[in-house]
Symmetry: C2
């Protein structure tokens, strides 16, 4: 059986280009004992992928040159050498940007297509949802009545952060690009205000939207937006550093936050998070989030693009702010 | 009685110059009921003074144009309208850069010249000591066996931070300017290593001195030093932002830490501190520190310059790294 896969051909300098990728065709490898052959259905596209393309020490090994690009995905079991999985089962795992993956059964977990559309297991019910849940609640520690600001607010993580903050009784302000996204935040997700960074000055927008200052900031973007928020934080504010998508394709050094001394003036805290650290508590979080979804209190949107061939271009949608909701590639439809 | 005082004449752009100050001569104001007239003996010179000269929101009101420059000081009571103070008492308070201060008795507290030389109440037994104690222990949370790095390590705060970290069983590395200061840190204060930022590349120096990475960083300096440390922090590291003396006289924006995403990779935390927040616990801290001093485990050095007339020049010693120990002006000798 043929397997089409995207390999990392070279490390990008700045924006990834066609030169950084090779589309490879190979034969599917048969599963050995304990392994499972999975047909990939939905690929998760995430800003973190840009970091995995770089060399150097990080929270996870870089993808090697010539290796299949790392990606979380939902797939369906085609052949199983692991008694815990049967042909036809739907699973989540790090399957990579390819049509078929032969992986250890232990690295997979089952998902139920009857409970939610499959792409949702890559969004609100997957890593982005867990990132939002633990990053906001454990590190941001929002209290009822406080003002919570989130950047990348219409993205897979940001939209969940804002909705959970509303559930906790906070005033919630989102920063996103474009009128459609801003309208979605305020009209469909219940945000108190949204700032369109493409049309408005973010600092002025935040001043107007946060008359009592900012207590919690959940940052997916970095750059100028982080500096604008720092100028408006309150005493003992918490800034959760989840990402900095505005800086990932820089060819110059990352823009450090000039206003970081606002942390001193306000005795505030800036702290980084990685979702994997909470792995042992995913179950509890998923249960609580599923409850909110069932009650209509937590909504989700996926942006599905068809075809594995589109991968290099589709990935760039993230950095151009062109996705609206969790970005997913449909590699194949479920059987 | 004549009172010589330094007034803030204008707000500096970049380094304070002679134009920013007026030397004023006025008459001492007699104390009313509840007030005390204090003769100023020792003035505390602190990096934070540069911030008080700026306009704009901060953790404390700026000094107004035409007002006496704010300064902590040790003085001696000359006349008292407060039954809690008698003529001859030695006191600490925010007396300002002047020869005499007429202030509310409630704003003063007594110090005992029999227990320590008076300038020491402006250093290890004063705000710098408290800053080091609470900033390191409450916010840095050093654990035995961890590596603690401190910048401005030969300064009033830094030297105390390093010694307390040693008392807590940590490996301690100081960053300071010049061989004399570095020798002092390692030979007299017991630091494990010292890096001379004037002679060495700080990043290479830190790599060599911190083979197991950095768990706690207590930063008084900011700029390139903060970035070098961020490149070497460990999982769950704590960065205490106490100051950024390298940036206070900037005419360009503050250099934000380019490497701040190391907080994300390492799930680390950066947090600002202001000593005043711990005011209700100063007593306990002073008691513990006095014990360490008595046991010879906590040493202190003051750098005393004579004469209030030198104030504008003496202040600049801080920003040029020319002081060696807590910088104090002797305005008058005790009676």
């Amino acid at each position: 059986m043929q397997n089409k896969q995207w390999l990392l051909a070279s490390r990008p300098v700045g924006e990834p280009t066609a030169q950084n990728w090779t589309l490879n065709e190979t034969q599917v490898r048969e599963p050995e004992a304990g392994e499972v052959l999975v047909k990939v259905l939905y690929l998760s596209l995430d800003p973190a992928m840009r970091g995995w393309m770089n060399d150097g020490k990080s929270y996870i090994e870089p993808v090697g040159i010539g290796e299949v690009m790392r990606a979380g995905a939902i797939g369906q079991v085609v052949e199983s050498g692991d008694e815990n999985f049967s042909v036809g089962d739907f699973v989540h795992g790090m399957l990579g940007v390819q049509q078929y993956a032969t992986v250890a059964g232990q690295s997979l977990h089952k998902v139920d297509p009857a409970l939610a559309p499959l792409p949702r297991y890559l969004g609100v019910l997957g890593m982005p949802g867990m990132t939002a849940y633990f990053g906001l609640l454990n590190t941001g520690q929002p209290q009822a009545g406080e003002t919570v600001v989130v950047s990348g607010a219409a993205g897979a993580v940001g939209a969940v952060v804002g909705q959970i903050a509303k559930l906790k009784g906070c005033r919630v302000v989102g920063i996103a690009g474009g009128k459609d996204k801003c309208d979605y935040l305020t009209q469909e997700l219940g945000f108190d205000a949204a700032i369109d960074y493409k049309e408005q000055d973010v600092l002025s927008g935040l001043k107007a939207a946060c008359p009592e200052g900012i207590d919690v900031f959940f940052d997916n973007v970095g750059g100028e937006i982080l500096d604008a928020v720092l100028a408006l934080i309150n005493f003992k504010a918490r800034i959760v550093i989840c990402g900095a998508i505005s800086q990932y394709n820089n060819t110059t050094p990352v823009k450090g936050p000039s206003n970081y001394l606002s942390l001193l003036i306000n005795r505030a805290r800036m702290e980084g998070i990685i979702v994997f650290d909470n792995a042992e508590h995913y179950g509890e979080a998923a249960k609580e989030m599923a409850g909110w979804i069932a009650q209509g209190k937590l909504k989700a949107k996926e942006h599905v693009v068809e075809g594995i061939d589109t991968f290099p271009d589709t990935l760039m949608m993230l950095f151009r702010g062109e996705n609206f909701g969790k970005l997913v590639i449909e590699v194949a439809k479920p059987a």
